[in-house]
Every structure is written in C-alpha cells, then in structure tokens.
C-alpha cells in the first residue's frame, strides 16, 4: 500500500513478510500473504487428498495402508524405483514448465498432452525419414523438429484465441484427442514396425537416435534439459524486461494494453514456448525412454502437468519438487495394478490434490486460519 513519505515521494510500506528475501525470490512470492500458510497448503492438500482417497478405497474394500505402502515402496523404495520416478518426472517437469509459462499470463493451455504427442511424432518422423544420420546431427535435429511441432500445435489454439476469441481451453483439449488419434493412425498404420509382431509401435530407434543416459543410471540427458528450462524460466520472469511485461500482462491485461505491451503477440510467443516445451518432452520420452513411438505413449503427462504447475504455484523450485512427487505418484499408480486395482487411482489422487489445493487458496486469502490478519481485511476503512 503506497503511502507518501516525508519528502513527498511515494514509498512502499516496508512491512511485507517477503521483504527479507532477495529480489529473484520475491518475484515468485506475492507480497502481503502469510508465507508459512502459503507453502504449507500444497503439502496439506496432498495429505488431505490421500486421506479422502484412502477413505474411498476403504469403503470399496481395499486396504488403503497396503495400497499406499506399495505405492511408496515402488516409487521411492529402491534405487530402481527412484530411477523410474525420475524418468517419469522428466516429461512432467518439461510439460509442467510449459503450462506454467502459459498460466503466468492467464492463458489456459490444457493441451500439453497433444503438444507432447506431436513432439514425439515429429521426433520419430526424423528417425524414419532421415535415418543413418550421425548422433550429433540426429539428436539436435530431433529436438528442433519436436519443439516446432509442439509449438505449432499450441499456436493453433493461440492464434484462434488471439484473432477470433475462441476459447483456448476447448481448442487445446480437442487438439489433444486429434493428436492422440493421429499417433494411433501412424503406429497402427504406415509407421508400424513390420517386424514388431503386430505391436502398435514403430521400429526401435538405433543407438544414434537415443538420448544418452547419465552416469550409468537410466535417467537420460532430458533431465539436464529440463533443469536448464527451469533456470531459464526463473531468469526470464525474475530478471528480464520481457518477463516483467509478461507479469504485468498476467496480472492485469488491460493495464498491459494501455502500457503499450503487444498483448496478442506476447500471447502467441508464450504459447509457442509452452507448446515447444511439451513437444520437447515428447521427444525426450521416445528418444530417451521407450525408444519407439507406441500406442499409449503418455499416461496423461500433459494433464498431470497442469497439477504439477499449480501445486508448485508456478514457482520454479516448486516445479522441481512437485514433478518428482507426481512422477512417484504415477509409478506408484502402475504398481497398484498388482493388487487388482486400476492404475487410475493415481488419477483420482491427482484430481483430489488439485481441488484441495484450490480450496486451500481460500484458506490463504480469506480464512481465519492465519497467524497474521492481513491489513486488507477486517475493520472498516
């Protein structure tokens, strides 16, 4: 709240709990909120979601402790398990980063799933139409085409929103189905491996088309790419002029327009980046994990990424933590199938986490459950 200082200039009242943090941290924390509550909410919402879904499992005759025990053991209980969790976390982090870019300017990209698929298709297309390229050429060009494919897919929705005000929620989601069906067409039809025993997948990638792995683990170089992406994301929004413009655009589009920020162009660029990151995730998945394009490539990374981003409050460090957590949740979800339960338990948990997190924002903004009463509320002024 600006108050006139003694010299007549306008100063910001220096009482925000976030003041003690350096600028690049503060960028990601809105002032005037109780920090402890803010960062406790994601963890509390995860706990609440586990309790709720545990209750539902118990009602349906499954032992929730056994289910959760198995999930934790299979996702974090051994070196192999942690390897698997990190492998799942890489596409989640890349897609989550992608949607976080869009959400920062309030563009609802829920099409990371389709952008991921298009990226995977493009990368596989490189291996099919340009085989026998050396690895140093092959891998970078796979990355470039996958970024372009994912970005192009996202830009369809962005352009329609920019020029015709078509709701991007619907277009991005519809394009998910289109991309998924197109991939199915390819892996069941023209791209199917003739030696694949009728399995709906392309031929295996040659070693020069596969992403190198890190230090003898299964985790591939995509992890490093994702980390670079996180740093660039943090740097852009905290340090650059463009990031500042995007922040203005996100918090008040009208003000941004009056300030001369080219709203439409910014939006298309952000969607380009958003889709490009998801496309890159698709390339990392086919080239780093499955080594082929196959039916059911993504277990819904694009949708989980939305929750990854929101639970992290679009914060770069938060994105790292939540992508690993949800990676573990996905791995744990596969493991419950051994108990005769559907793996969609992880979907149920994800949904519950999201709406508990959404509900938690109420507690943070309006609730009495806060250690400090915000000056904006209570009292007649």
């Amino acid at each position: 709240m600006p108050v006139p200082g003694s010299d007549g200039s306008v100063q910001v009242r220096n009482e925000s709990p976030t003041r003690r943090f350096p600028g690049y941290v503060r960028t990601f924390i809105s002032s005037d909120r109780n920090l402890t509550v803010k960062w406790a909410i994601p963890f509390l919402s995860i706990a609440a979601a586990f309790v709720l879904c545990g209750g539902l499992m118990w009602l349906w005759g499954a032992n929730p402790f056994r289910v959760y025990g198995l999930m934790v053991q299979q996702s974090f209980g051994s070196v192999f398990a942690i390897n698997q969790t990190f492998l799942e976390a890489i596409p989640l982090l890349l897609c989550g980063l992608g949607v976080a870019w869009a959400y920062r300017i309030s563009v609802w990209n829920i099409g990371a799933e389709g952008q991921f698929t298009m990226g995977a298709i493009a990368a596989t297309g490189m291996t099919i139409y340009f085989p026998h390229l050396p690895s140093v050429v092959m891998i970078p060009s796979m990355m470039v085409v996958s970024v372009l494919a994912g970005a192009g897919w996202a830009c369809i929705a962005a352009v329609l929103k920019a020029y015709l005000q078509v709701n991007e929620l619907i277009t991005t989601l519809m394009l998910n189905y289109v991309a998924g069906l197109y991939m199915d067409y390819l892996v069941y039809g023209p791209w199917k491996d003739p030696k694949g025993f009728n399995f709906p997948g392309t031929a295996m990638f040659t070693p020069s088309e596969q992403l190198p792995t890190l230090f003898g683990t299964q985790v591939h170089i995509g992890a490093v790419i994702a980390l670079v992406g996180v740093v660039l994301y943090a740097w852009t929004f905290a340090k650059t002029r463009w990031g500042y413009e995007l922040r203005v655009l996100g918090s008040n589009p009208t003000a941004a327009r009056y300030a001369g920020i080219p709203v439409v162009r910014q939006m298309v660029w952000v969607m380009f980046i958003s889709g490009g990151l998801a496309g890159l995730a698709g390339m990392c998945e086919v080239s780093g994990v499955t080594h082929q394009l196959q039916h059911g490539l993504s277990p819904g990374y694009g949708y989980t990424a939305i929750i990854v981003a929101w639970l992290a409050r679009l914060h770069p460090i938060g994105l790292l933590v939540s992508s690993v957590f949800f990676g573990g949740l996905l791995v744990g979800g596969y493991s419950v199938q051994t108990l005769g339960l559907p793996s969609s338990i992880s979907l149920m948990l994800q949904g519950a986490i999201l709406f508990f997190a959404v509900a938690g924002e109420y507690v943070q903004q309006y609730g009495r459950w806060s250690w400090r009463v915000s000056s904006q509320r209570g009292g007649v002024s």
């Binding site: 329609l160 005000q165 189905y177 979907l347 949904g351 924002e361 309006y366």
Partner: protein, 294 residues
C-alpha cells in the same frame, strides 16, 4: 421410409448424451459458474448407474445412483466455486480428473459384465430420450417465461443486481450447479445404460468436453444446444455407417471428426458473430462477493 427412420433414430441416440451434457453446462453457466468437470461427472454417472444396474437389476435404482453421483459432484464443485470462491477452471479440472479416476475404480468390477436391465422405451423412443426433450423444453420455458428464469439470467449477468432483487445468490448458484451436474450424470448414465450398453474405463472419450464447446455454440440457449447435439450425433452416425461400409479412410481419421468439427464450429460461430455479443453470461467465471466493488 424405414431406412430414414432408422437413420433418425441413430442420430438421436448418438446425440442424446450430448443433449444432457450441453443442457447441464448451460444451466450451470447461466448462473455464472463454469463447470469443466463435465467429462468426469459423466463418467461417474455412467459408472455408478451401470454398477447399480448390474448389482440390483433395477434400472430405476441405477438412474437414482447416477442422480446421486451428480448431486454429490455438484455439491463438491459448488462448495469449491461458490463457498470457497475458488478458480472455477481449476476446480472443474480437478473434478474432471477425480471423476475420471474414481469412476474407473468404482466400475472396475463390472468391466465386461453384461447389463441386466435397460431403460424401457415408450412409443419406440427410449424414456431417457423423452426425458432429454422434456428437459430442453422445461429449460426454455424456465429461462424465458418465468420469474425464476429471469432471476437465473440476472444471476449470470449481474449477481449484484440479483442480490439487490433479494435473491439468495449463493444458494441459487449451488442449486443450478447441482442441477447441471445431475443432467451431466444422466447423460453419462444414458451412455452406459442405453447407448453402449457397457462400462469401459474413460468411455466418454471427450464427450464432456464437446458438450462444453456446444454450450458456446448454442449461445447458452437450450434449443440451439439440442440442435448442436444432434449435429454431432449425426456425425457419429455417419462415422458408424462409413466404418460399416468399409471406407478407405482410416478409422482414426473418422474418429477425429467430432474433435476437429468442434474447433471448426467454434471458429465459424465466432467469425459469424464477430463484433456482436456472444451471449455469454457477463459474470461467467467470477465468484460473487457481496462486499466487493463490482
């Protein structure tokens, strides 16, 4: 003549789920609350109805189960968006994912189990189809010919004005959100009990989302929504016919048609109505806080 009637029947039966979904979306959005949970709620309605039908052999109990799941999910979405004033888009996405996961879990025991009793037909038309027509008519009369309908439109355009009229804004929004969810759940029940009839995990395959797009296409008007739903139903029927006839186009491309058409329809609608009001309720997506300046 007979062939024509069977075509009409195919179109209607393929479109009825969408009629329910789009009407549910319209009711909810008219009151100012977006419900993106349609996909999950439809799946819950489908799973709970199918499970109850198989377990009890009573189709009325099955429909009641769908009704109940609609009410519960409506209360959940209403609590988040009306009481907690949460972001409606996020809440809807959460409900959608949760419903998707829970329905797979609940319906896991009846995958591949045949249905025991189906919904009866009256005059060769399924009872649930009659109900969908009745709902569309009731909603039209409700919206444009009654006081309450006027109140509903005020709720979506200017909740402050509705409040000043003495209407209980939160209670009404709850009611309409729940009604919308009930309609969506019935649409799901129609899908699993009548149209398919079977339960498959994730069987709606985007129908809930198409229904949400139809709301925009219909400009929030019930009869236009019925028209739009049968347009998509016709597309489905055509797709079915083409696949039976062994067309040369790969089935994946035929299956893409509804999704592509949804986007095309939205483009055309926006293009034709550029510069004109879209019919969207003005306060759509914004929670109402009495003390806050509008």
């Amino acid at each position: 003549m007979n062939a024509l009637w069977s075509d009409v029947g195919l179109v209607v039966s393929a479109g009825t789920t969408l009629v329910y979904g789009a009407l549910g979306g319209i009711v909810s959005e008219r009151s100012g609350v977006i419900n993106l949970g349609a996909e999950g709620i439809m799946l819950m309605g489908a799973a709970s109805a199918y499970l109850t039908d198989v377990q009890t052999g009573n189709v009325w109990l099955a429909l009641a189960a769908a009704l109940l799941s609609g009410i519960l999910f409506g209360m959940l979405h209403g609590f988040l968006t009306v009481t907690l004033r949460a972001n409606q888009i996020l809440s809807g996405l959460g409900v959608s994912l949760f419903g998707n996961g829970l329905s797979a879990y609940v319906g896991n025991s009846v995958v591949g189990v045949p249905l025991s009793v189906s919904v009866p037909s009256v005059f060769h038309v399924n009872l649930m189809v009659w109900l969908s027509w009745a709902m569309a008519l009731i909603l039209v009369i409700w919206f444009y010919r009654t006081r309450w309908g006027m109140g509903l439109r005020a709720l979506g355009d200017s909740p402050a004005a509705a409040d000043a009229m003495g209407l209980p804004v939160s209670a009404l929004r709850y009611g309409y959100v729940i009604l919308g969810c009930v309609l969506m759940a019935l649409g799901g029940a129609y899908l699993s009990l009548v149209y398919s009839p079977q339960w498959v995990q994730g069987m709606t395959a985007g129908v809930g989302w198409i229904a949400i797009a139809l709301v925009v296409f219909a400009r929030w008007q019930p009869l236009r929504a019925v028209f739009g739903a049968y347009l998509f139903g016709g597309l489905n029927a055509l797709n079915f016919r083409l696949q039976l006839a062994g067309s040369h186009v790969a089935s994946e491309f035929l299956n893409m048609m509804p999704y592509v058409l949804t986007i095309l329809v939205l483009i055309v609608v926006r293009w034709m109505s550029r510069g004109k009001p879209t019919g969207q309720p003005l306060a759509l997506g914004t929670p109402y806080i009495r003390e806050e300046r509008q």
